[in-house]
């Protein structure tokens, strides 16, 4: 067979939700606690403990789904995904299987009417596993279950992407949506956003899909793009030699810029899914869903470009998080760049001190001070800084300056 060859990509993105507590227990999700400090009988899977669903996580998951144009279902079902691993304390992960929270969305890759985009197959909720630490104690592995039970959503795209560059655009836009809607930090380097990619090749214009491989272990957007190019080249080379692509899991090695097949143990589980008997089906009334959908609608109405431009003008977007923090919090210090005014609708600042992560998000409801500024169409630097500073002094551990704006 001969080219030209077309790459077909579908992405599975796991995203940590910005809840204060875990998905099925009241433990904190705060980052950086001593190992196993944020645990309880539920997330340690002690005998007899039972999960209780965090409704706040459901709200965030639904918000993300609406922001991606999905239908959120009035009834969805949690299921057990069974496999043994030391950092999976119950021996199963509570996830959703044949009845996910949401299905059928769309993410545009460009702005404007009729823009190219990617269909979203589904968005479902699940819990994270803990962490295995292999290099700390010689001859032993250590398990940290602080992350065990942290809420995740998995966003599964249809195989609509045709290039590594488009996959990059998809991921960057997805990250923006998740940040703007305050669903997640969506930080791939910190693991709050993780990407697995399904890739296959076919002759350009063909209808049938080729045999796909799954690439794992990528830890940056550019890494995803490089891994896709490398895997595409590998598959094309195989096909051109008349060989067959084998369905398997490939691991990306960023150091060497290569992919290698995962050991058989790392792939092809029979997860023996069945409905989670400890949790009744998740039911959401149409009234609640309508309210959530409207809240997201207000944010979606604002085109990204406009929001991006406002952020660029403010000078905040382009600053490093640490720098931004200094600028935003230093008393009396002026913003170094930008026009010195920010569209109030675009100001809402999420501060997470322990992670020095700052994201700008739109806030429909403004602080009285923000509101006054909004009325004038602008918000001056000083009042934004005051609002931030005030919160920064009072809060402990994690700060959400936008709370001040909502108060």
């Amino acid at each position: 067979m001969a080219g030209p060859w077309e790459m077909v990509i579908g992405l599975e993105v796991h995203v940590q939700l910005l809840t204060k507590t875990k998905l099925f227990c009241p433990c904190s999700t705060a980052f950086g606690a001593p190992p196993n400090a944020n645990t309880c009988p539920v997330c340690l899977a002690l005998p007899g403990a039972l999960p209780v669903l965090n409704r706040g996580a459901v709200r965030l998951a639904a918000r993300a789904a609406y922001a991606l144009g999905c239908t959120v279902h009035e009834e969805s079902v949690f299921a057990r995904k069974n496999y043994f691993y030391p950092d999976l304390p119950k021996g199963y992960q509570i996830s959703q299987f044949d009845r996910p929270l949401a299905t059928g969305g769309f993410l545009a890759l460009e702005d404007g009417p009729g823009a190219r985009g990617v269909r979203i197959h589904r968005v479902h909720m699940e819990e994270d596993a803990g962490k295995s630490i292999h290099d700390r104690y010689p001859g032993h592995s250590a398990i940290d279950l602080n992350r065990s039970g942290t809420p995740l959503i998995e966003i599964v795209s249809e195989p609509d992407l045709r290039s590594a560059a488009d996959a990059g655009v998809y991921l960057r836009r997805l990250k923006q949506i998740l940040e703007y809607t305050e669903v997640s930090d969506a930080n791939m380097e910190e693991g709050s956003l993780r990407v697995d990619a399904n890739v296959s090749v076919r002759a350009a214009g063909a209808d049938a899909l080729g045999t796909k491989t799954e690439i794992k272990n990528m830890n940056s957007f550019s890494g995803v793009e490089r891994a896709l190019e490398v895997e595409f080249a590998r598959q094309v080379a195989l096909v051109e030699r008349g060989e067959r692509v084998v369905q398997q899991t490939m691991l990306w090695d960023a150091g060497s810029g290569t992919v290698r097949p995962a050991r058989s143990k790392e792939e092809s589980h029979d997860y023996r899914y069945f409905p989670e008997p400890d949790l009744p089906p998740l039911r959401l009334t149409s009234a609640v869903l309508a309210e959530w959908r409207e809240a997201v609608g207000a944010q979606r109405a604002e085109p990204f470009q406009q929001r991006e431009r406002a952020l660029e003008r403010s000078g905040l977007r382009s600053l490093e998080p640490r720098k931004f923090r200094e600028v935003a919090l230093a008393p009396g210090k002026q913003l170094e760049r930008g026009a010195g005014e920010i569209d109030a609708a675009n100001l809402g600042i999420v501060l997470r001190r322990e992670r020095t992560l700052f994201a700008l998000v739109p806030q429909p409801q403004a602080h009285p001070r923000c509101g006054a500024a909004r009325a004038a169409g602008t918000l001056v630097r000083g009042s934004a800084r005051d609002a931030l500073e005030h919160e920064a002094v009072e809060a402990d551990g994690r700060i959400e300056a936008h709370d001040a704006c909502e108060a």
Binding site: G48, A49, L53, N82, Y273, P277
Partner: protein, 476 residues
């Protein structure tokens, strides 16, 4: 009687009947000193008129149960005493938290004097499948007490405690109650919190209560019933005063006699006990009617797909990583294999394998999905009968009386011991077993079943039958 006196009396009785491993083998964990100390503390608080939290109270009685020693099945989490589910894999395990049912009982004045023997992880019908060895039936020590909650049934039957907790997945309270000649109630699924009950099959499991009398069982259930936010499957419904059912008249009560529970193969002596019970209730004003529950014969096959499937997942957490037994093996997989092979007994292993099989790719639709569909039909049978005006069903609790230790070695034959009880677990309805008479000196249980959350009517029928038998001096 003071709490200390009550607890000491219970221990004296335990000594007399030899409740430990040298005798009945009903008690597997006991801490006498701690129990007496807890009782002394309770007495002090009563004397000082303090409630459980140490706050002053005007309630002189202080607690709904009074100071009462109880025994708790070894798969219900307690602080202090170990919680080992009769399994080697949890040898020595102590729970850092306590089950909601135990907390509620303690707050009502109960003192846990022992954890009781059971079939490992509640998988069995004879209490022979325990890492601690079999429990003996106090009525006849050559026989099994039934199971899986055999230790609790034996403790009540031997007169050590009047109330004990068990758990049910397919009849594990009602069947041993019948074998030992005591009362055993399995509430509606969702009536009692499962938080702290070590899961066997989550959609079937429910904590149950043994009582020396119907009133003891009603008393115990009143204390533990009610919504618990820690169990998402517990239902937020008001809990009636079950003890008030003692005063209910049976006038007009419609009792259904399901023909599938009285097949031609049923031991006629057991049939006679049930028919005599029905006759007594008829004499008290009840109407007895023949009914049909056509899917009854499918209950055991369905049960032995659904329960092992859930068990295979629920028991995955016993992996040697965080608690319990850990046996060394070659690498991680070797450790898993060594720990789980060495930690689980034969019956538990059999069910984990069975459950893993029925959930596997390619078999799920043929087994699990189909079983769940039939389960819905079994439930529908009951819903229809109760909608047709039947208030309570009357059946034998078990097809036999207590069998001899070691008499049943074929697993399937053992499974048939639950043929009349597993249906209620599959349908989620409540059931109670009341001593109805004897055959060759061995107790026979009469079972009542009612619609979801109608334990009150169960108790009304149970009180009436018990009173009728007692008045005529026929209480076994």
């Amino acid at each position: 009687m003071s709490a200390v006196a009550a607890v000491e009396a219970a221990f004296r009785r335990a000594d007399e009947v030899r409740a430990g491993p040298d005798g009945l083998n009903a008690f597997v964990h006991v801490d006498r000193e701690a129990a007496v100390a807890e009782a002394a503390e309770l007495d002090r608080m009563v004397a000082e008129r303090l409630d459980v939290a140490g706050r002053p109270t005007h309630d002189a009685g202080r607690s709904p149960l009074g100071a009462r020693p109880i025994a708790v099945k070894d798969n219900i989490a307690t602080l202090g005493l170990p919680t080992t589910c009769g399994s080697r894999i949890l040898a020595g395990y102590r729970s850092p938290y306590e089950a909601t049912v135990v907390r509620r009982l303690r707050e009502a004045g109960a003192i846990v004097i022992a954890k009781t023997n059971m079939d490992e992880f509640a998988m069995g019908s004879s209490t022979e499948q325990s890492a601690y060895g079999p429990t003996l039936n106090p009525v006849d020590r050559t026989r099994v007490p039934g199971g899986s909650s055999g230790g609790s049934a034996a403790a009540v039957a031997a007169g050590i405690v009047r109330i004990a907790l068990g758990s049910e997945t397919g009849g594990s309270v009602r069947q041993p109650a019948a074998f030992c000649g005591v009362v055993g109630v399995k509430p509606t699924y969702g009536r009692v919190s499962r938080y702290g009950l070590v899961a066997f099959a989550s959609s079937l499991d429910q904590v149950g209560v043994f009582g020396k009398t119907v009133d003891d069982a009603a008393h115990g259930l009143s204390v533990i019933a009610g919504h618990d936010e820690r169990d998402s499957t517990s239902i937020d419904l008001p809990v009636p005063d079950f003890r008030a059912a003692a005063r209910e008249s049976l006038e007009g009560l419609v009792i259904g006699r399901p023909r599938e529970y009285f097949p031609d193969t049923l031991d006629p002596r057991i049939r006679d006990v049930c028919d005599a019970a029905a006759e007594r209730l008829r004499g008290l004003g009840a109407v007895v009617r023949d009914v049909s529950l056509p899917h009854t014969s499918l209950a055991i096959p369905v049960y032995y797909i659904v329960a092992p499937a859930e068990a295979s997942s629920n028991l995955a957490r016993f992996d040697g990583v965080r608690y319990g037994l850990r046996l060394a093996g070659d690498g991680l997989t070797g450790m898993y294999e060594a720990t789980r092979s060495g930690g689980f007994g034969a019956e538990v292993t059999r069910r984990i394998l069975l459950g893993t099989y029925v959930l596997s790719a390619g078999y799920y639709d043929a087994y699990y999905r189909k079983a769940m569909a039939i389960r819905a039909l079994i439930r529908q049978d009951f819903v229809r009968v109760f909608a047709d005006g039947v208030h309570v069903l009357l059946t034998p609790t078990a097809p036999t009386t207590a069998f001899r230790l070691g008499a049943i070695s074929d697993p399937y034959e053992m499974y048939l011991s639950d043929i009349y009880t597993a249906t209620a677990n599959l349908a989620g309805i409540p059931g109670i077993s009341v001593p109805g008479g004897t055959v060759d000196g061995l107790p026979v249980g009469v079972q009542f079943l009612a619609t979801h959350f109608d334990e009150y009517r169960l108790f009304a029928a149970a009180y009436a039958l018990e009173r009728s038998l007692t008045e005529q001096g026929e209480h076994p």
